[in-house]
Every structure is written in structure tokens, then in C-alpha cells.
């Protein structure tokens, strides 16, 4: 019988065979996490599964953009709420979190895990929660809403997530202020290019001389494309898939020029250079390792990311 430890062993043995592309690495992560879910469910096998459910991952995993090391972000949506279901799925969520941690996905510091009742609810409760988040419009609730919008099911009924995401789309049509609140939430972008045109690097510490790719590069692309996805009701999860759909819309032709190849290259840079052992190691790109051509390209990607971010926000606020 498989255990979390045996999955970890298998993962550590095989991950190097899946580092060719971002897609293959993320497919591999999906496989690993699905195995963890299997073991967790077996551990609770003395209880009957009370009703149909979906287990989803979100964050970079949901967007199919995980690096080699990634923390866990996930949740559960189940068919109906009653004492038995609530207890079972929370117990399952806790088991999954423990399992993922053992296998090598550190606990989420923001507690976005199925072990947290906020992220483990029945479909109706989820509907209500999303509505409350959208109505509340607090900084935290808008952040949660965006995290949910990156959710992708790894197990179970696919319709739950699609329906819930669609409800977000419907709500923002009726309440345009929601997009404004999301804009306010993502407005801050770390300076990636200095006033003298130089790439901004870490000044001190273990990653001295490195660019924080997560904050300087990925976030402007991911956030602005997600914003457009919510506005247009695009239910795809990955940034590249979302760009593909948006490219089909005439109004975004200019704004998204070069965006797909930039983001794809960014993923490739991370695959090529950032294969350290810790979560932080997978974020910092050491400029000294790059050729002059690569430095130029990174600089362009960073500049384009900021420009995309600014243009998308301007367009949404129009």
C-alpha cells in the first residue's frame, strides 16, 4: 500500500525526468498530489464518503505554473452540508494537508488549505461565501476571491468550480465596482526596472544579486491576465490558456502583443535556472548567470509586464 513517505520517495526519484517543460512538471505535480489524495481517502476509509465532492488546487498549482518546489494551496467543495459531511471533509482536508507536507509541499502560510473550514465547504456554502467576499470588498476578501478564481479540480465533479467561477463573472457584470476593487488590490507592483534602466536586484542576503521573479515578473502578468479573465468570464485556469482566449478578442489585440511569448519564456527561464532545494530558491534568478542576450530579454519581459499591468488596469477602469 502506498504511503506518504513512499510517494515522497517516488517523487524525489522521478521529478528530474519531468523538468523538460513547464507542462510536464505540472502534470507530474498533479500526479503526485492525486496520489496523496488517494492515500488520504484510504486513511479515512472506515468512514463512508458522505456525498459527491471536488478537491481543487489553486495558486500556481491551479494555474499550472508550479516550480519545482511549491507550497500547498487547495480546497474542497462538497455536495451538501450536514454534520456528517462537514466533519468528514474537514478531516479529509486535514489529512491531505499533512500528507502534502510530508511529500514535500510545505504548509501554506496563508492557510489556504482544505484543513481550513474557510476553504472546505459545501457548494451552497461556497456560493454564499463568494457572494459575501464580493459584497464585503475588503482587501482580504478580494484577495481570496482572486485565489479562488485560479482553482482547478484534481478530483471530482468539475461543474462545481465552473459554476462558482461563473457566478463571479455574473456578479461583476451587475456590480462593476468589483473590478475596481480588484484593481485596487493588485495595483502595487514591485519596481523591476530602476530609474536608470537597470534591473533591480536584491541588495543583501542569500539571494544578493538576484531578481525576485515571483514579485517582479510573474505577478504583473498573472494578476493582470486574471483580471481580464474575470471581466470576460474566461474559465480557463492557466495564464497561457487565458491569454490564448483573450487573444481571440479584438479589443485586447494591442494590449496583449508579445504577452504569450513573454510569459512562456518566463516559465522557461524558471525551469532552466531555478531548480534549488527550497521554495525561495525557485524565485530568485541570479543575473550573473545570464548572458548579455538573456539579460536583455529578461529586462524586456519585466518592462513589458509592467506595461501590460498598467494598460490592463487603465482599460478595466475606463
Amino acid at each position: 500500500m502506498e504511503t506518504y513517505e513512499s510517494i515522497k520517495h517516488w517523487k524525489d526519484q522521478n521529478i528530474s525526468s519531468y523538468l523538460d517543460t513547464n507542462q510536464s512538471l505540472n502534470d507530474f505535480h498533479d500526479q503526485v498530489m492525486s496520489k496523496v489524495l488517494d492515500v488520504a481517502m484510504k486513511k479515512l476509509s472506515k468512514y463512508n464518503i458522505p456525498c459527491e465532492f471536488t478537491w481543487f488546487i489553486t495558486g500556481s498549482g491551479g494555474r499550472l505554473e508550479q516550480g519545482i518546489v511549491s507550497d500547498q494551496d487547495h480546497g474542497i467543495i462538497y455536495a451538501k452540508s450536514d454534520i456528517e459531511s462537514d466533519a468528514y471533509f474537514l478531516a479529509l482536508g486535514k489529512e491531505i494537508s499533512v500528507g502534502l507536507n510530508i511529500v514535500g509541499y510545505p504548509y501554506c502560510k496563508g492557510n489556504i488549505m482544505s484543513s481550513n473550514p474557510v476553504w472546505c465547504k459545501s457548494f451552497v456554502q461556497w456560493e454564499r461565501q463568494l457572494f459575501n467576499w464580493m459584497a464585503d470588498e475588503s482587501w482580504e476578501s478580494i484577495r481570496y476571491l482572486q485565489i479562488f478564481y485560479d482553482a482547478r479540480e484534481l478530483y471530482g465533479n468539475t461543474n462545481y468550480i465552473q459554476e462558482l467561477k461563473y457566478s463571479i463573472y455574473q456578479y461583476q457584470i451587475e456590480h462593476p465596482s468589483l473590478l475596481h476593487r480588484i484593481v485596487a488590490n493588485i495595483k502595487h507592483v514591485r519596481n523591476a526596472i530602476g530609474p536608470l534602466g537597470q534591473i533591480m536586484i536584491e541588495q543583501h542576503g542569500k539571494f544578493q544579486g538576484g531578481i525576485n521573479l515571483k514579485y517582479a515578473a510573474f505577478i504583473p502578468y498573472v494578476n493582470s491576465i486574471r483580471l481580464l479573465a474575470i471581466k470576460e468570464g474566461i474559465l480557463e485556469c492557466s495564464t497561457l490558456q487565458r491569454i490564448e482566449v483573450l487573444n481571440g478578442m479584438e479589443i485586447y489585440g494591442n494590449v496583449l502583443e508579445g504577452c504569450e511569448s513573454n510569459f512562456s519564456n518566463l516559465l522557461n527561464y524558471r525551469m532552466t535556472f531555478l531548480n534549488g532545494a527550497s521554495y525561495d530558491d525557485t524565485h530568485y534568478l541570479n543575473v550573473r548567470l545570464l548572458t548579455n542576450e538573456q539579460k536583455k530579454e529578461i529586462k524586456r519581459i519585466l518592462k513589458d509586464g509592467k506595461s501590460l499591468h498598467d494598460q490592463v488596469i487603465a482599460q478595466v477602469l475606463q
Binding site: N191, G194, P195, M200, H204, G205, K206, F207, Q208
Partner: protein, 431 residues
């Protein structure tokens, strides 16, 4: 009382007030240095600054003043020890007012030197070095430039002590930090450096403000009188350079790193003040702005350079007082105007005022000679002390902090006692 008597009285009063202002700069250094370092060393840093000021005062009274202003030769003065001249003013400053002003400069220089010792030197080293610095190192450099020594004869321009006070202190700090080596945790094995953040930027800012105010005494009272109102011009130049230094440092660090770093901005104000110290009585206000701006820019890159060279300078004393002190002294050779130099027989005009390279050469000679002397003697003294008793506290003492290891109680007891208890438990468990 005739007008002349009133002027003499006011001259004395102004310089005495200057002495008080300069002494208050020690308070600025306490806040600057404590704020720029970690909580566990705050009490130590504040306390040692007070008692080394005490040591410096007594030593300067006993021998320091005599080595500077006593009758002697081009190298050193050799009279007026255990100073006690109570004579009244005879058309100028009373000797005691002059002494009071001079002793404060020595204390400032000593406090600058101790910036290089921060967070890792033994208390006993502070005591011994305070004696030797106040007795030998500072007085000899001061004699060369202010006491009628060989550099004074060359026409060296150092209005308020850019070389004498700041460079001398910084060179001693450089020797200390080189021998002490970086603090634990400052550099990683791969050569990258960590930013050991100071614990209170508000303290640091208040420290800078107090220093800034004190500098009006430092530069302003270096006119040694009020009769022609020249002190106003000196104060104007001082204020302009400090403002320019702060602005330049903030924009420079923002342009280079993307963040308008507060400690660097504060060091920029100090850099402006240090830069104008030598030239405040020799240059026009526009030049004071330029001198301050360049000082503010220089301090940013100098801090980066020392960091890269793995010279751990916890409060940027080397950059602010050393690098910028050199610039300030050299700036006379560029910007000194004839009316305030050649025409009053105090050196030559600067390069930009038709004075050629003469004054620049004299200034450079002063910097090299004074800087080399202060560094070499400090290095020899500290190296010898390192071999005999050791300069640095043990690793465990450094980790627990000098407040508890050297003085027995923390400056922040509530915050630090729990950490200390954890450290002690861990050490016991490991055994």
C-alpha cells in the same frame, strides 16, 4: 563698558555656546549609533559613549591639549599639560573657553572612531583606546593642522575639522573594523552580505537631527567670534550642504536600488555636514550646495564599496566621516574663493577661482599625511591590544549582546530577557 569689551564678551559667549552645542553632538551620536545597531547592544552603546566621553575629557585635559597647542615643534606640542589657565580675556577668547571648545572636538573624533568598534569590541578595549586616542592620535594630527605644526605652515585649509576630527576618527574606525573582522552573521559563506538592520530608525533620525543642530556650533563657533557676523555665512553654508546631502543620498539610493532607504538618506545629511566642515568658511553658498550634493552621492557608493570589500561598518562611519571627510577637505582646493583664502592669507584660492592646483595639492597632502598617520598608529595600537588581550568579545557574548555580557543588564530588558533565556536553555541543552 566700551564696545570692544562687549564684542569680546560676545565672542566668548558664542564660542562657549559652540562648546555646548558640540558636546550635545555626543547625544546625537548615542541615538544615531544605538538606532543603527541591534537592540541587544543598545544600552552598551549608549553607556560606553558617555563614559568614553569622560575618559576623553580627562586625558585631553591632562595631556591632549598640551600636545596640540603647547610650545613644541612641527610634530607635537610639549607644554600646557594638566591645563589650568584661568586668565581673563585679553582682547580675545579666554583660554578656558578655548579649551572647552577644543576638548569637545576631541570627544567627537573619539566617538566617530568607536563607530568602527560597534557590536563586537570588549569594554576594556574602549577604555584603553579612549586613553590612547585622546592622548596621542588626535592631538598629533590636530597639532599638525591647528596647533602650528608642519601642515599649518603649508596653508592647509580645514575650517572646522574635516580632516582633524572626522578623517582622524574614521581612520581609527577603519583600523578597528579591519582587525575586529565583520560581526557574526554579516556575511554568508558564498560571499553575499546580510543587512543587519538597526533596531530604531526614529532614534537614528533624531540622532542625525541633533548632530545637525550641533554642527552649527561645530562650524559656526569655529569663527571664534561674532564681530563681523561671519558666523552667519558659515551657518548658511552648513545648512545648505546638509540639505543637499540628504536630498542627493535619497535620490541616489532610490535610483540605484529602487527604494528611498531611510538610513542611507540620514547618512546623506551627515555626509553633507561632514563635506562642508572643511570648506564652510572658504566657499560660496552655491559651492556649498555642490559640495553637499557630491558628499550625499559619494556616501551611497562608499557604503556599497565597503560592504563589497567585506569591511563591516555598522554605522557607516567610514563612509560618512572618512570618504566624505576626504572629499570635503579636497573641495577647498576646488572652490575656495580668493576673498576668504588668499586675501586673508589662509592658503590659496581653489582651482575654479584661478588658484591653480596649489591648494588642492596642499589639501591632498594634508589628507594623506593625517589619514595615514591616524590609520597606522591606530592599527599598531589595536593590533598590539588584539595580540595581548584580544579586541573582540567571545562568540557567545556577541550573540547574547554586549548589554548583558559587558554590563549585566539589557537596555531593553522586557524584549531581550526572553531571548536570552532561550539562548541559555539552548546552550545548556546542547551540553
Amino acid at each position: 563698558m566700551d564696545v570692544n569689551a562687549v564684542v569680546v564678551l560676545m565672542d566668548n559667549l558664542w564660542v562657549a555656546m559652540g562648546a555646548i552645542l558640540v558636546f550635545f553632538m555626543i547625544g546625537g551620536f548615542i541615538l544615531l549609533e544605538a538606532g543603527s545597531t541591534r537592540m541587544k547592544n543598545a544600552g552598551h552603546i549608549a553607556g560606553k559613549t558617555i563614559f568614553t566621553a569622560g575618559i576623553g575629557t580627562i586625558v585631553f585635559w591632562a595631556v591632549g591639549y598640551g600636545f596640540i597647542y603647547g610650545e613644541g615643534n612641527a610634530f607635537i606640542g610639549l607644554s600646557n599639560f594638566f591645563y589650568g589657565d584661568y586668565s581673563a580675556a585679553d582682547g580675545g577668547l579666554t583660554p578656558a573657553v578655548d579649551f572647552s571648545f577644543q576638548v569637545m572636538f576631541a570627544l567627537v573624533s573619539l566617538t566617530i572612531a568607536f563607530g568602527g568598534f560597534a557590536e563586537r569590541a570588549k569594554l576594556s578595549i574602549y577604555i584603553i583606546f579612549a586613553v590612547l586616542f585622546s592622548a596621542v592620535i588626535y592631538p598629533i594630527v590636530a597639532h599638525w593642522i591647528w596647533g602650528g605644526g608642519w601642515l599649518a605652515e603649508h596653508g592647509k585649509q580645514d575650517f572646522a575639522g574635516s580632516t582633524v576630527v572626522h578623517l582622524t576618527g574614521a581612520m581609527a574606525a577603519l583600523a578597528a573594523t579591519m582587525i575586529l573582522k565583520p560581526r557574526i552573521g554579516k556575511y554568508n559563506k558564498d560571499g553575499s552580505s546580510n543587512n543587519l538592520l538597526g533596531h530604531n530608525q526614529v532614534f537614528t533620525a533624531l540622532g542625525v537631527l541633533i548632530l545637525w543642530v550641533g554642527w552649527f556650533g561645530f562650524n559656526g563657533a569655529s569663527t571664534f567670534g561674532v564681530s563681523d557676523g561671519f558666523l552667519g555665512f558659515v551657518l548658511l553654508n552648513t545648512q545648505l550642504a546638509a540639505g543637499a546631502g540628504a536630498i542627493a543620498a535619497m535620490f541616489t539610493v532610490w535610483a540605484v536600488t529602487g527604494k528611498a532607504d531611510i538610513p542611507t538618506t540620514l547618512n546623506g545629511a551627515l555626509a553633507g555636514l561632514v563635506a562642508i566642515t572643511a570648506s564652510c568658511g572658504f566657499v560660496e553658498p552655491w559651492a556649498a550646495v555642490v559640495i553637499g550634493l557630491i558628499g550625499g552621492i559619494m556616501v551611497v557608493f562608499s557604503m556599497k564599496l565597503f560592504d563589497r570589500l567585506k569591511i563591516d561598518d555598522p554605522i557607516a562611519a567610514l563612509s560618512v566621516h572618512g570618504t566624505v571627510g576626504v572629499w570635503g577637505t579636497l573641495s577647498n582646493g576646488l572652490f575656495a574663493v580668493p576673498a576668504l583664502s588668499t586675501e586673508i592669507e589662509w592658503g590659496q584660492a581653489g582651482l575654479f577661482y584661478g588658484g591653480g592646483f596649489d591648494q588642492l595639492g596642499v589639501q591632498a597632502l594634508g589628507v594623506v599625511a593625517s589619514g595615514a598617520f591616524a590609520f597606522i598608529v591606530s592599527f599598531i595600537i589595536l593590533k598590539a591590544l588584539d595580540m595581548i588581550i584580544g579586541l573582540r568579545v567571545s562568540e557567545e557574548e556577541e550573540i547574547m549582546g554586549l548589554d548583558i555580557s559587558e554590563h549585566g543588564s539589557y537596555g531593553y530588558p522586557e524584549q531581550m530577557q526572553e531571548k536570552h533565556a532561550n539562548l541559555t536553555t539552548a546552550a545548556t541543552t546542547e551540553k
